[in-house]
Subunit: 364 residues, 2 copies
């Protein structure tokens, strides 16, 4: 087992990465002062429940815990206020109180939803993240939790840090291939923003990662969580630096919104968005090779690097205007200056953005 | 104008109390770094809108502000996730960004709803409280914001402190009599918990307060906000002391839930709850005169001091079990030890509570 720390003063917390860690979950909860007196709630989705819920629940019950469970539909549509309300119904009926914890067992959807439940239930109870997707290395660290509004993703939420993150690599074995690829997109992203060496390690080890080799995954998730933890430690509430984690997300979120949640997975949309950001970089005077390299590496992971032709450019542009990363009307982009190095650019012309979007639609 | 401060380190903020303060709202926003670049959102209800919205909006527009407005239905039912979602739709359509502020213009319902919008929109934007009811002296100070769930009041929310509270006494003139009385209930409560002198000042000046005499109101709201500010400054997140503000609320909330939101106003339910707490006090060995005095003073304000006979005792008891003030199964009550002095008692027997509830139902 490897351990990392997200350093946030009295809100600091550990990330445990290793194989088989779920077996010790009851102990880990106890170590973190989550006791057996109050009931706790596991939030998960139907796919994850099928594989792991019974086991986790009985492990915890064997440890003396009373556990309520809320199993939501798999997929982005569960990140809604309506589902939040249903989960809170379960929490109330199970008698969760202020000493209770909400435990997210699942991918980013479950983590974001359960985290907002934890943030808002009785104005905030404790929260535990048990990520079960590769993408969730990102979503489970940093305390950003949210649900979607039909007009924009993640616009209703909070900052609510977990007590700990427990990453059991063993749970990744059951991950569908497409979700694994999408998760690797966001994992390579951690390299693109801050760690050139890691990008090329991923490039070299793409095959091992795609076949979910334990050792490769453990290394990559440790590095990926480490990048995330480092950035979050320096800027908890996205006052500045933290925005770099959004490389590829401005275009990516717009694509997800326009496609209708579901057509593109988050990591897929972000892959396209990273290529878009790299092309904007070229327009800003940086080497064209950044875009070419970005594209080559993402293709190696079988990720999409073009915008589906049927998507309307104006709809994409207007979705971007709604995106929360535009402060007071300026277009803000995370721009790669080299592989493994980015800047926050607050003066990106919308004309260029539109050109890039159109370019990504036209080509194959 | 009088000024108080809620002392919370970097989250400290002022409360301005005075007549005609709305006239300077644009200036006050500016003084608090809420600028004219980003649009802002006023949340209000239909009654308050009728009296003040046009004026406030045009005052702000004259000051160069772009203002979006969300007018919700009057009453507790607007404190719901469904209405929250509608308000957020308005915010998104108006292009509110991270530099925007949400301005609550109204009573406690509007304040709680708008505050949770501010807390959760884009994971938190700035918030301004312009209370227009007497009761809102309480709800507008302290940062507790929430909406209701059908099973329990205020269980979905956050702690989100405003930038400032602007209390314009002039807006209280249009308050319906029943709402004024209900507000005075919570105002006298501030005395019952911490300020014996203020209780007897209210007793003496009941008539002036009921006729909404400006001078009397300004004094009473200044004292009332002061008590609230003091308690909140010492315990922002209700770790301990702050619970004393909930005198009368354990039974009160249960009555509101069982009555169906609307039959009893919040302040009315709290009046009955304060009598209940005083009777529990007698069972715990304190003088019977506390209950008699509490009842006499509340009656002077025309407030109910008995539970409507049709309400089911078991339903009231079970609503209390759901109440968030019960931690790990114990029944916790705020108990008056004298007029102007309370304690937090964590071992109140549910048998006594039931006796008190039944007693309050039987008598006239
Ligand atoms: N909070 C943040 O900082 C942050 C950061 C990045 C992404 N996100 C959010 O994360 C979400 C995407 O996360 P995701 O890709 O993990 O999506 P997801 O949670 O929907 O999981 C993807 C799919 O895999 C299934 N699944 C999960 N774990 C499994 C397992 N171990 N075995 C088999 N199937 C499994 C799920 O049921 C789902 O169908 C998006 O909503 C995005 O907005 C949040
Ligand atoms: N957040 C907190 O700390 C806190 C504390 C106490 C109470 N509360 C909440 O406050 C709410 C009750 O507040 P309230 O009594 O102000 O209720 P309210 O907001 O519903 O206002 C009462 C009525 O008066 C009307 N009104 C408001 N201002 C008016 C004016 N100036 N002129 C004419 N009509 C006016 C409203 O439309 C409404 O019909 C409850 O939901 C309660 O839970 C919150
Ligand atoms: Zn992402
Ligand atoms: Zn109250």
């Amino acid at each position: 087992m490897k351990k990392l720390t997200v350093d946030l003063g009295e809100r600091s917390y550990p990330i445990y990465v290793g194989e088989g860690l779920l077996n010790d979950l009851a102990d880990t909860l106890g170590k973190h002062q989550i006791g057996t007196k109050s009931p706790h709630l596991i939030v998960t989705d139907e796919n994850v429940a099928e594989h792991y819920l019974e086991r986790v629940q009985s492990l915890l019950e064997a440890g003396g815990y009373r556990i309520a469970t809320a199993v939501v539909a798999a997929g982005e549509k569960s990140k809604s206020l309506a589902v939040l309300e249903e989960v809170i119904t379960v929490a109330l009926e199970a008698g969760l109180d202020r000493n209770s914890a909400v435990i997210a067992l699942g991918g980013g959807v479950v983590g974001d939803l359960a985290g907002f439940v934890a943030a808002s239930y009785m104005r905030g109870v404790r929260f535990v993240q048990i990520p079960t997707t590769i993408l969730a290395h990102d979503s489970s660290v940093g305390g950003k939790v949210a649900v979607n509004h039909r007009l924009a993703k993640n616009v209703i939420g909070a900052f609510h840090q977990p007590e700990f993150v427990l990453y059991d690599i063993a749970t990744l074995k059951s991950l569908p291939e497409r979700d694994a690829r999408a998760g690797l997109s966001e994992l390579v992203k951690e390299g693109f923003i801050l760690d050139r060496e890691f990008v090329y390690w991923c490039d070299t080890n793409a095959e091992r990662l795609l076949t979910l080799d334990s050792e490769a995954l453990q290394h990559a998730l440790y590095i990926g969580c480490g990048v995330k933890a480092k950035v979050v430690s320096e800027d908890e509430k996205e006052g500045g630096l933290r925005a770099i984690l959004n490389l590829g997300h401005t275009i990516g979120h717009a694509l997800e919104a326009v496609a209708g949640y579901g057509e593109l997975l988050h990591g897929e949309a972000i892959a396209i968005g990273m290529v878009g950001a790299a092309r904007l970089s070229a327009k800003l005077g940086n080497p064209e090779t950044i875009a070419a390299e970005t594209e080559r590496i993402l293709r190696k992971f079988g990720l999409p690097v073009r915008i589906p032709a049927h998507m309307d450019t104006d709809a994409i542009m207007s979705a971007m205007m709604h995106d929360k990363k535009f402060s007071e009307g300026n277009m803000v982009f995370i721009i790669p200056k080299a592989i493994g190095d980015v800047e926050i650019n607050k003066n990106v012309s919308s004309v260029w953005v539109k050109e890039v979007v159109e370019g990504l639609k036209r080509e194959d």
